[in-house]
């Protein structure tokens, strides 16, 4: 039940954010190129936020296109809740906006995936937590 990697890339295959959990350094390069290749082959012309799935060995990959940013989530034994990472992440309609909100997105990711485990999946909760408010407001 772990999320091995979360990776954002723009449409040219440049990686914007990547977060690995328990992936050895030497494998990251492989993953990076694998995912970007996967996206470039399959995400062309796909609908916005249409989810794609791929399996690679024992892990599954959910990936999608949000605006012009590709999102890849690599996890073990999970399917649809990988997609929930996508739901909660800030929605960047464009790459530009994504970059402008870079810090916020990092914080969001930090709240959503905590040490490789999915933590918060509710939008409101994440929103509160990244502003250092308690998850449930008194």
């Amino acid at each position: 039940m772990t999320i091995l990697a979360v990776l954002f890339a723009n449409s040219d295959g440049n990686i914007l954010i990547e977060r690995f959990h328990g992936v050895p350094a030497e494998e990251r390069l492989h993953w990076r190129s694998f995912l970007v290749k996967l996206g470039s082959e399959n995400l062309k012309g796909s609908k916005n936020e249409e989810l794609h799935v791929a399996s690679h060995k024992s892990v599954s990959i959910v990936y999608t296109l949000i605006g012009d940013v590709c999102l890849y989530i690599v996890g073990k034994d999970e399917y649809d809740e990988l997609a929930s990472v996508k739901d909660v992440c800030a929605k960047p309609p464009t790459e530009r906006l994504f970059l402008d909100k870079y810090g916020r997105i990092c914080l969001c990711l930090d709240e959503i995936v905590w040490k490789g485990l999915l933590e918060n999946t509710e939008k409101d909760r994440v929103r509160r937590l990244i502003r250092l408010k308690p998850p449930v407001e008194p």
């Binding site: 039940m1 890339a9 990686i15 796909s46 799935v53 399996s55 399917y79 040490k115 250092l132 008194p138």
Partner: protein
Amino acid sequence: MASGQDSSGTTLMDLITSDPSAAPTSGSGASSQPPSSGGGGGSVGSLLGKPTAAPADRKSKRGTLMQIQNETISAAKALNPPVSYAQLARSIHELAATCDQKSSQRQLVNSVFPKLAVYNSVDPSVAPSLLMLHQQCEDRNVLRYVYYYLARILSDNGSQGLSAAGGIPTPNWDALADIDAVGGVTRADVVPKIVDQLSAESSSDDVEFHARRLAALKALTSSSTSSSDMMEKLYEIVFGILEKVADTKQKRKKGIFTKQGGDKESIIRGNLQYASMSALRRLPLDPGNPAFLHRAVQGVEFSDPVAVRHALSIISEIAAKDPYSVAMALGALQDILHLHDVLARVYLAKLCHSISRARVLDQRPDIKSQYSSLLYQLLLDPSDRVCFEAIHCVLGKVDNSESTEDRAGGWIRLTREILKLPEAPSVASKGVLSKSSEKSSKARRPQPLIKLVMRRLESSFRSFSRPVLHAAARVVQEMGKSRAAAYALGAYDEGATLQAYSDNAESLDSDLENPMAEGTRKPNPLSNGHGGMDTIAGLLASLMEVVRTTATPDMAVTLLEIARIFATKVPGKIDADVLQLLWKTCLVGAGPDGKHTALEAVTIVLDLPPPQPGSMSGLTSVDMVSASDPKSAMALQRLVQAAVWFLGENANYAASEYAWESATPPGTALMMLDADKMVAAASSRNPTLASALTRLQRCAFSGSWEVGPLQMTIPLLYVFEALGNVRIRIAAVQALTTIAIRSGEPYRLQIYEFLHALALGGVQSNFSELQLSNGENQGASGTGLGSLISPMLKVLDEMYRAQDDLARDIRQHDNSKQEWNDEELKKLYETHERLLDFVSLFCFVPRAKYLPLGPTALCNYHVLTRSMLNCVDSAKLIEIYRNRHNISASGGLSDPAVATGISDLMYESKEAQKETGTMQSRIDPDLAMAWAAGLEDDVWANNAPAVDKVKDFLAGAGTDAPDVDDEEYMNSRPSVGYDDMWAKTILETYDAEEDDGRYSGGSSPDSTGSVETSISSHFGGMNYPSLFSSKPSSYGASQQTIREEPPSYSTSVLQKRESFENPLSGRDGRSFGSNEDEDKSSGNPQSGKALYDFTAGGDDELSLTTGEEVEIQYEVDGWYYVKKKRPGRDGKMAGLVPVLYVSS
């Protein structure tokens, strides 16, 4: 690390700092900057005067660069932020000192911290500044970042690669040291400080700061778990918090599903519960520690759903190791069924599984059954995720380490257990729960698990979400594994599960009622952009393996259903071969009842709507069709073609209707001359076959695949579609013929009439086309089938004519009370053999049993004259003849193995050979054309008119072919791979044809040849004897079991297809090279000897003299590419020769 960025030419930092309006320029000038320039005196001033936006320093990230557009200091800083790591570190330090100012805070939050996030690790030298901020700053946004970076410093265990965050590699810390105000700070220095400060904060009880407390606790958990001191400290803190907040035995808040409600105090408690439980989850498990378990069990009662989730996940992990104590400690878990958190329910499933399976709890069946029941209830969960997890658990699959016994037990559970819902399940309230309560009320009465699971899977396979589809497929896979395990152990009791399965089969059948609905729901098959479906073929294949090894009808039906759904949803991703094999497996495995279902599943593919049905209306949309998604359209066509072929080959098997085993009472056949009556009779007798016929007819005639009149007007534009359509229609006609030959009356007559009608239409349009295109334009003329149908009609004609003759003869004999003399019998026998040969060219029939002259020819006549001849019929007469002449060739009637075996399939007797010859001379040229492409033996060589016609594309290759001795005929072609090769490559061939666009207009003779070559080879390619497989000798022994199962085509069709050169025309068709083939044989060229003289008929052919030594390079389509040792008379060294001419 940063290869992702570096290779792309623009760094992430470039992208971030670039002006939004301007495209991120590459800034090549900047990259030439010496890296030391920043490290040295990198003050802002030293780099001033560079007004251009050239922020990047790609070569080395440690160079400082600053993008400055004007000299205004702090305000401008926010707009034109520093981009180098050192500069960022400096800014943090500077701004931390002035963190009470709003502007500094804003700058930190807006520019400095976000940019720091780009780097993949955080330097400990910024830690003092961060700690200062932590203490002094009160801005929540700043603080959030501070916690974030502190956590990253803690988690960074020194080896750069292992930090969670990727990004630009952080510059070497040493290089930064001299510019760092604090001086050389190491991680070892700062970590204790950070830990102290954070733990102090997380232990403080100040209510006002409890949010910070949560964040501090969270940051603390990221510290490395290697140090035991650290762990002890963490446990202490976490348990300390839990001590205070967890022990409240107060009831859980009513409003756990609604965020509001509850007093402030309990909310704060809830938040703390959440934080501490999350922290506990991240700590290493401590199974021996009773406090650990105790706290976790308490966590189940917490109000925060995420906290409950973590508690359950901890418990389920402990339960895997120590189920007994967990079971003893746990209270009721019923309420969690309705918990909002999906993952919590997933963990609940796991927990229930571990406890209900625990051996140590064998003494406590009450506990076990309680947890099993809970697990079974999770099957009803509204979330697919939970349901699938529950299915996995029921099946005994948690990780992959389960024993076969566990899995087998899982299968038995799944098939036998019955879910009894407890009375009045504590359904709490509305909202999220309404759905689940609805469900449970619907399913109130006891239900077998297998039924629930099957229903669930069925609906899941309708889902549009690919993750769900994927997960469902995995569930099916696991089911297959468990089932196989059960079989392996022999623990599977068929009788006990039949009940459950028949229920299941019912629901599947009902599902089959609306295949069209499903088909139309996705009229445009999902495009090729389907990474998600990559593994489906593989999945199906593995499923199939399971089914094959443990085949039972029920599983086969289920599998078919799944295959169908995949086929309809993502035709592009499913292999036609895999699908065919699947169908076949199911057909064999499905048993008598399943046969119909299996055939239905095939025909459903035929019902698939053509790609983009609306697109035929105008020119503009036409362009869109071919451009938008040719791949998937092609895939769909292949599927349809495969389905048609499959139907033709197997319809008779599925329907158990064979001419030679006809259930029709003899004599009734020809009485039913009225077509309508016949159809009615047909459908009443055998609905399966009748419906298959109808489908095929629709496909052949026009059906949903007809392109329409536009096809004729703009043939060039429509070549793409035309080819596909013609292919499918031809395939349909082929299939029909096969069925006709194999079926008894009235099906044969029905098909005959249909083909006749079709031929008339087709011939007419051929005539009208004749002036324009030589009559060869298959693609654009009406049904375009005239030339192909006529040979088939010819066969049927011949059969009927011979039947008539026989009837007449018999009548004459009867009238004159004559005995059949030897001469007459011989003639009859010859006719019989001739027809048999003829028929065998089209499709396989068991020679010893098949009676082309009619089942028991016209017994109605004999009834009158029974006194004279005891039931004279063709079979009898032929047998008489055989007996008299000791013809053993196909006389193995008494020996079924021989009767159906390979020996029967060969041309053995001289008579047969002779008859074949005479028969050939009467064959319609069109017929010859149809098979000529695949045949280069005397079948057509004797037929001058045919040769004339086919010469165009065969370049007269065979005109010199001498009569080949029977022995040679059989033995010189030991290679079966040739047909397989065709099967594998035929589809590629089409692709190539379409891709290179040379198949233009379809009006040249070449193109006709190409179509026919391909088609005939396709049908031969299944390693199945038919007119279109070039040699009967390649039947192989697999045909021996014809009556036990459908004709088995070689599994090698599953082999990976290789890229293949395109046989553009008949001539080229012989010279194309298969990569695969070349690979196979070029390594060790065989030597051979020319058996006969051969005169080259074309440029690429090679003349041979008898006895000449040659080196066989490779074989292609019945031809060897050979090299001579020295040039021949014509000076050629190498070229193609017919396989038969060379002994290998």
